[in-house]
Symmetry: C2
Subunit: 249 residues, 2 copies
C-alpha cells in the first residue's frame, strides 16, 4: 500500500481573487496527474494569502513607538515589526533579534508567520490567511464542485522548539481529521499504546514539502493513497494545545 | 517527479543481536519491493533498541528516593521514573504527571523516550538506542555491503511544544544530510529566502510514519525518489539546537 506524493507544477501567478481550486485542478490535469477522490491536496499558505489579498505595503504601515524602538536596536524594519505585533495576540519570547509570537489563530511561530521573502515585490509582505480552515474549505468546495472529493491542507513552514531546521506543518484543514487517535487501542501484546495520537496533518504537510521544495517554487503537492478519516467539519483547532496544557508558553 | 513511500512488512521478531540490515533487505525482497540505490530507509527506533538489547526488566531497577516520592504522588511506576531520570541529563519541565527531559543524546522529549507500551512483555521497557547515528550507520553499512547504497534514518515518535498530537522525527541518520540549507539562495524575485533551512530528515521520518502507522506494526518504511544530499559523515547533531540558541529550555 504505497503512498505517492507529487507536486503540481505550472500554476499561473496568483493574484487577489484567484480561484485556487480551479487553477490547481487545471494545472494537475495539464501535468498529466489529474486529481482524484481521496487525494490530500497540500497548498502552501503563501498562495492562499495572495489569492485572499493578504498583502501589505510596508510604506502604508505606521509603526508604534515600541515597534520602532525594538527594530532600531536589532536592525529590523519597523513596519514589519509593527505587523508582527498586530498579527499576534501575545509575544511568547522576545530575545535579541528573535520574536516568537502567538498569532490570533493560536499558532506559536516566529514573526507571526509573516513572509518577507517572496511576496512578488520588495516593500511588501504576505500575512497568514485570516482563517486557514476557511481557506481550506473554500478550496475543497471548489474541488468537490468539480467532482473531486479530496481533502485539503493549508501548510506553512514553521520552526520548532529544541530542533534546528524548519518543517512544513498544517495551519488549516478541510475534509480530513488532523489527528489520528489511538486512545484505548491495544498493541499485539495487550498493552495500551504509549503513543495516543499522531498529528497526521503535520506529517502530510511535511511530506508534501519534500516534493514542493522552496526554491523550485511548486506551491501545491498531492498525496495519494493515504487512508484518512474524512470529516466535513474538521478544523485545525484540535492541534492547537490549550495554554493550560502547555509547558512552553 | 513523484515520491513513493511504502512499508516493509513481514519482518521477523527482533531480538538482541538481530541483523536488521539483512532482515530489512530480505523482507523488502519477499514483499516484492526490493531496496534500491537512493532509497531512504526509515527504521523505527524500537526495533533498533531491541536488536541492540536496550531492554530493561523493571524488577531489576532500584528507584531513588526522589523517583519513589514523585511516582507515588502521580501514580507512576517508580522503576520507570528511575530509568527516565537515568536516561536524562536534565529535567526540562516537571509539572503534574508530566516529565520532559533532555536525554544524554540531547533530545528533548517526554520520559526520555522510554517506551513502556510494546516491549514484547509486561514489566519490561525499551530505552532509546545509545547512539542512534551509530545504529543508522551500522544498518546502512549492511545495506551497502549487500550492494544497496541507501540512506538510513532511525525515527521515534515525539511530542512537540504548542501542538497536540505526536509526529515521527529523526533521532539518527546515516548517509544523508539531515538539514537542507537555502542560506544565501535567492527566490525568483531576487529576495533572499526567509526559510533558510529545512529539516528534511524530520519530514522524511514523519512521511514514513504515514505508511508505518502504529497499530499495523510495520516498523520500517522506504521513501523512493527523494533526491538528498549524501554525506557519509552525517549525524543528527546539526538538528539539536544549542542551548544558547534555544528560548524554550
Amino acid at each position: 500500500m504505497a503512498l505517492q506524493i507529487f507536486g503540481v507544477p505550472g500554476l499561473p501567478e496568483i493574484v487577489p481573487g484567484s480561484d485556487l481550486a480551479t487553477m490547481i485542478l487545471d494545472a494537475a490535469h495539464t501535468a498529466g496527474t489529474p486529481l482524484a477522490d481521496g487525494d490530500v491536496v497540500v497548498v502552501t499558505s503563501k498562495i492562499v494569502s495572495k489569492a485572499e489579498g493578504r498583502l501589505v505595503e510596508l510604506a502604508d504601515v505606521e509603526p508604534s513607538p515600541f515597534a520602532r524602538e525594538w527594530s532600531s536596536r536589532w536592525d529590523k524594519d519597523p513596519a514589519v515589526t509593527e505587523l508582527v505585533l498586530r498579527e499576534s495576540k501575545r509575544v511568547v519570547r522576545q530575545l535579541g533579534p528573535v520574536m516568537i509570537t502567538e498569532t490570533h489563530h493560536g499558532f506559536v511561530c516566529a514573526n507571526s508567520g509573516i513572509d518577507q521573502s517572496s511576496s512578488g515585490a520588495h516593500g511588501r509582505v504576505v500575512l497568514l490567511p485570516v482563517d486557514p480552515d476557511a481557506s481550506a474549505r473554500t478550496i475543497r468546495a471548489g474541488l468537490v464542485a468539480a467532482g473531486v472529493d479530496a481533502a485539503v491542507i493549508v501548510s506553512d513552514t514553521f520552526g520548532r522548539a529544541w530542533r534546528e531546521g524548519q518543517t512544513d506543518i498544517a495551519i488549516g484543514v478541510a475534509g480530513i481529521t488532523p489527528i489520528l487517535s489511538y486512545i484505548g487501542q491495544v498493541d499485539p501484546h495487550g498493552h495500551e499504546f504509549k503513543v495516543q495520537a499522531i498529528c497526521t496533518a503535520d506529517e502530510l504537510a511535511g511530506a508534501a514539502e519534500l516534493v514542493k521544495g522552496n526554491v523550485s517554487r511548486v506551491p501545491v503537492a498531492v498525496i495519494r493513497g493515504f487512508v484518512y478519516q474524512t470529516d466535513d467539519d474538521a478544523t485545525i483547532a484540535p492541534v492547537l494545545r490549550d495554554q493550560s496544557r502547555d509547558l512552553f508558553r
